[in-house]
């Protein structure tokens, strides 16, 4: 399956570049060390660099933010193609709702996805075992057949365990985790939903967070980021996978996703028609608070 998807991806990328439909195809390639990484293909002849397998975990939508402005003033914004898993397309959907990306500037090569594996194992990531969308909710071209996999029910077990702790235990847990943070911002930079021109954590005027790389600053940053992703985090896990200090960031984001689902019956980016609950309002709305 992976191999036929890979062949189809290469063919599609080559065509798009040959026809001049796009200026660049953003996909995955294998590094000389054998690890999969994001790839930027500009020439049809390079399309064969593209690969597809169960380690293509990066959420490439993050790179669309680099392509919102033209390379030179006055020029048109070039159109790009991007390889997108179902979770990635949900992230793109969030960005479209937020007016970040011009849909016509992106050719979405959707990939039917059987799930991504934990690094160095053949074991599916927990989020992939639970995934209910094996085919992206929208695309310009679809590659691959819907895989025959049954999703594990979402029971929020990890979040429930956390909720079961006393406040003091929870504080101790997160203190231990956040204390390892080095404020490298890999989580934020890998996140398609974090695109502020200037992050609150680095804003100088007004100064919200100091420059110190100490627990209060670290904890504040992570909690603030999690809140800013409320109703927006699609659980692509790009943050956690990018974290050099192995902080379980998905746990934080999932706690908020669980609250959003309970309050609004909404999953981030799940539906192209429904606007995100925290970016809209209804006159007749009543919250069960």
């Amino acid at each position: 399956m992976s191999e036929s998807i890979q062949t189809a991806l290469r063919t599609r990328a080559r065509e798009l570049l040959e026809l001049g439909e796009v200026s660049c195809v953003i996909g995955y390639e294998r590094s000389p060390r054998g690890r999969v990484r994001p790839a930027f293909i500009y020439e049809p002849a390079d399309a064969d660099r593209l690969v597809w397998d169960n380690t293509c975990h990066h959420n490439l939508m993050v790179y669309l933010h680099d392509r919102k402005t033209p390379p030179r003033r006055g020029e048109e914004v070039p159109r790009v193609a991007v390889v997108a898993k179902p979770c990635d397309v949900r992230a793109l959907n969030v960005l479209l709702h937020e007016g970040q990306i011009a849909r016509e500037k992106v050719f979405v090569i959707g990939v039917a996805c059987a799930g991504m594996c934990e690094e160095g194992t053949e074991e599916l990531q927990a989020r992939c075992r639970r995934c209910r969308e094996r085919v992206p909710i929208f695309y310009d071209a679809l590659v691959g057949e819907p895989p025959k996999v049954t999703a594990v029910d979402e029971d929020w077990a990890d979040v429930v365990e956390l909720e079961g702790m006393s406040a003091a235990e929870r504080l101790a847990f997160w203190t231990r985790e956040f204390d390892r943070c080095i404020r490298c911002y890999a989580c934020r930079q890998a996140c398609p939903g974090c695109y502020c021109f200037e992050c609150m954590a680095e804003q100088v005027d007004p100064l919200w967070v100091g420059i110190a790389i100490e627990l209060p600053e670290k904890a504040f940053f992570h909690v603030m980021r999690a809140y800013h992703l409320a109703g927006r985090c699609v659980e692509c896990n790009a943050c956690e996978l990018a974290c050099p200090m192995h902080i379980p960031l998905s746990l934080l984001n999932r706690k908020i996703a669980k609250e959003v689902e309970a309050l609004f019956g909404y999953r981030a980016g799940g539906d192209p028609q429904t606007p995100p609950p925290l970016a809209t309002f209804r006159k007749d709305e009543e919250l069960p608070l």
């Binding site: 680099d66 680095e202 790389i213 100490e214 192995h246 379980p248």
Partner: protein
């Protein structure tokens, strides 16, 4: 040369902990029992915490010389009286099991922070207060390339004591007087056994001479290389030679009786968009292409020219940490190839 067992070494470390802070590789549990671990240099309370067998730590030990955050001085103002209290670090430190590449990283930092005026008093003081106990690598680990950049897995040039793991324990080599002094109390026997020579085979990575870099500055290559860069700070924070910092004053208390201010410095990263922004909002390095290129030029062109040291020791951490697979050795190979191509083209024109 002396020979000692791991148990004797551990006993010596435990005794050392009575009078100095011992920093050593330590396993840190992550994710609240999810089974993942990180190896970090951390202060240890017992030799039982020390990991003796390891490849490399996730972070370089530079933070024990240039802390990620430190108070430079405090200012106290009461009515018309202003006092300034500068507290230089006094603690004696022993950095146990530092790898030769990381020790070499400190030599690079010395060149930049001590040997050129104005010297960094805080860094210099920590260097003086610290004894380095090196532990040779038997060979290069994955992502390592120290041999390509002038180092070696058993290079003892930058440590006070060098340990080599051998059958039955460790060979102990006293490199400096500071090292000899620290070794008092170690139970060890004299031996004629020579230090084992590590396997130096490693990747062949061509490192372009500093003066060859400027000709490549405007190549499209840098834009293509940085396409995948996320502009996070990970590579700079794990690096043993990246040393940029930010300084800011914080008012800790203010009232009718006076004001208390701390001047703080923290690590900063040239990979950050705002790093180079200047008054008025202009940013001479506006894109990630400018920033990634600058990082490499800093290491291989600016530092060698300005401070006489290539600011890379081949530890491989930036390769291991990069979430998107940017690889400094790959870059060096491609840059060397690009330089050769340009030279060929130049000859053709001539």
């Amino acid at each position: 040369m002396k020979l000692t067992s791991r148990e004797q070494l551990a006993a010596w470390l435990d005794a050392l902990m009575e009078r100095a802070t011992v920093i050593a590789p330590r396993q840190v549990e992550c994710g609240g029992g999810s089974g993942t671990h990180l190896l970090l240099y951390q202060p240890v309370a017992s030799s039982a915490e020390v990991v003796f067998d390891f490849q490399r730590t996730a972070m370089s030990p530079k933070g024990y010389f240039l802390p990620s955050t430190e108070v430079l001085f405090e200012i106290e103002k009461r009515s018309n009286e202003v006092t300034l209290d500068e507290a230089l670090p006094q603690d004696e430190q022993v950095l146990f099991a530092i790898r030769p590449c990381d020790a070499r990283g400190l030599r690079v930092l010395d060149a930049l922070l001590v040997e050129h005026e104005p010297a960094d008093a805080y860094y210099a003081q920590r260097r003086r207060n610290t004894t380095l106990v090196g532990l040779a690598c038997p060979h290069l680990w994955p992502e390592c390339f120290c041999t390509a950049i002038g180092g070696a897995p058993d290079d003892s040039a930058d440590v006070d004591i060098m340990l080599y793991e051998v059958d039955g324990g460790y060979l102990v080599s006293e490199i400096t007087e500071k090292g000899t002094a620290l070794l008092a109390g170690l139970n060890a026997e004299e031996t004629d056994q020579p230090a084992p020579v590590s396997d130096r085979s490693g990747p062949s990575v061509p490192v372009l001479a500093p003066e060859a870099w400027p000709a490549l500055f405007n190549e499209l290559y840098w834009a293509r290389l940085s396409d995948r860069c996320l502009s996070c700070h990970a590579c700079t924070y794990v690096c043993p030679t990246c040393r940029c910092f930010d300084v800011r004053d914080y008012t800790r208390a203010a009232g009718p009786n006076g004001i208390h201010i701390e001047r703080l410095r923290s690590w900063d990263s040239c990979m950050a968009a705002a790093y180079r922004r200047i008054a008025g909002g202009h940013n001479p390095r506006p894109s990630k292409m400018h920033r990634l290129r600058n990082r490499y030029y800093c290491k291989f062109n600016y530092c060698p020219q300005d401070f006489g040291a290539v600011a890379c020791v081949g530890c491989g951490r930036c390769i291991a940490v990069c979430p998107v697979g940017i690889d400094i050795t790959e870059m060096l190979g491609e840059v060397a190839a690009l330089a050769a191509t340009l030279e060929e083209r130049g000859k053709g024109k001539g």
